[in-house]
């Protein structure tokens, strides 16, 4: 599906979505509460059919987190990105998309482990890489560890 058509389709579903097109992807930024709804819509609509979440990641912008979902359709071979902002750094929380794309399960466990973002309704949210007694979230910008990290 063309980017312009996709943009119109998403705007008709969520009129307040922010849409930016770059060289590669169509980037759609939505409110935190709408991310699950949008994910489900993009997967189930026949014209879009985004059936493959090829990357789910989090970015720390120091004052907020951004969840980034890279989507692909194995049927139409088109791609897009959906994003959502998490402003609460103390108790960051977002809806899980595990029930839409099962592959999100491990991505979300990794994000939970390294950023401390919690996912509502995730079936098995526990640490994946770090030791079970690890304290802190190493990929956060404000993470400090004077013992193990040599700063430069």
């Amino acid at each position: 599906m063309e980017k312009e058509k996709l943009k119109d389709l998403i705007l008709s579903f969520l009129p307040d979505a922010e849409i930016v097109t770059d060289k590669q992807f169509l980037n759609v930024t939505v409110e935190k509460g709408q991310i699950h709804k949008l994910a489900e819509f993009l997967k189930k609509t026949t014209e879009t059919c985004f059936d493959y979440l090829f990357c789910e990641s989090a970015v720390d912008y120091a004052d907020h987190f951004m969840m980034v979902y890279h989507l692909d359709s194995t049927k139409f071979r088109h791609q897009m990105v959906i994003k959502t902002k998490i402003t609460d750094r103390e108790n960051p929380m977002v809806d899980s998309v595990c029930d839409v794309w099962i592959g999100a399960e491990y991505h979300e466990r990794e994000i939970f482990d390294l950023f401390g973002i919690k996912f509502n309704k995730h079936p098995d949210l526990r640490k994946i890489f770090l030791d079970n007694d690890w304290v802190g979230f190493p990929l956060r910008k404000d993470y400090v560890d004077p013992i193990n990290i040599v700063e430069r």
Binding site: F129, L130, D131, P138, Y143, N148, I149, V150, E151, R152
Partner: protein, 178 residues
């Protein structure tokens, strides 16, 4: 490689010449000849250095020519562990266990920048052991990122040279205190 060709590192030979060790008996000479010419490495590689190690073992470089004969999949059968790659905090206990499971005499080669010092992960990293010698005692360090197979061959030949100066009278220290 002939011993005269190693002119850059004579510490061990000089140490021996000065009487720093027990006399090398004929038995020692025989045992060391056998040990140094049949070093079996453990199949253990954690990153790109492992690819170079495989290249060194494959037909082009073929380090079986020097007696580093066959990769063993069990630490019980291995003589040398080539630490080829980054050792993370989570991998360190596994490496220590592998080393402990190897039968004496056992040798360690730290291959590449990551195994020597943490390499590119030295600064600003929370998860990498900064030098594998924090975990297990190292016999030979091979610098490079990753070292070429020739460098590994050179390192292994240095190890063989080291083994040849060993003696059965001395007990080899097999572990370090962390």
């Amino acid at each position: 490689m002939k011993e005269e060709d190693f002119k850059d590192n004579e510490t061990l030979e000089l140490f021996k010449k000065e009487g720093g060790n027990v006399l090398l008996s004929t038995v020692d000479a025989l045992i060391n000849w056998g040990r140094s010419n049949s070093i079996w490495p453990l199949t253990f590689a954690t990153s790109c250095c492992g690819i170079e190690m495989m290249a060194a073992g494959a037909s082009r470089h073929d380090f079986a020519r020097f007696g580093i004969e066959v990769y063993r999949a069990s630490p019980r059968q291995a003589d040398v562990i080539v630490v080829a790659g980054t050792i993370t905090n989570k991998m360190a206990p596994v490496l220590k266990r592998l080393y402990d499971q190897m039968a004496d005499p056992k040798y360690v080669i730290a291959m590449g920048a990551c195994a020597i010092s943490g390499g590119p992960f030295f600064y600003n990293s929370y998860h990498v052991i900064k030098g594998v010698d924090h975990v297990i005692p190292v016999d030979v360090y091979i610098p490079g990122c990753p070292p070429r197979p020739e460098a590994l061959l050179y390192g292994v030949m240095q190890l063989q040279r080291k083994i040849k100066l060993d003696t059965i009278g001395k007990k080899k220290k097999s572990s370090v205190d962390i």
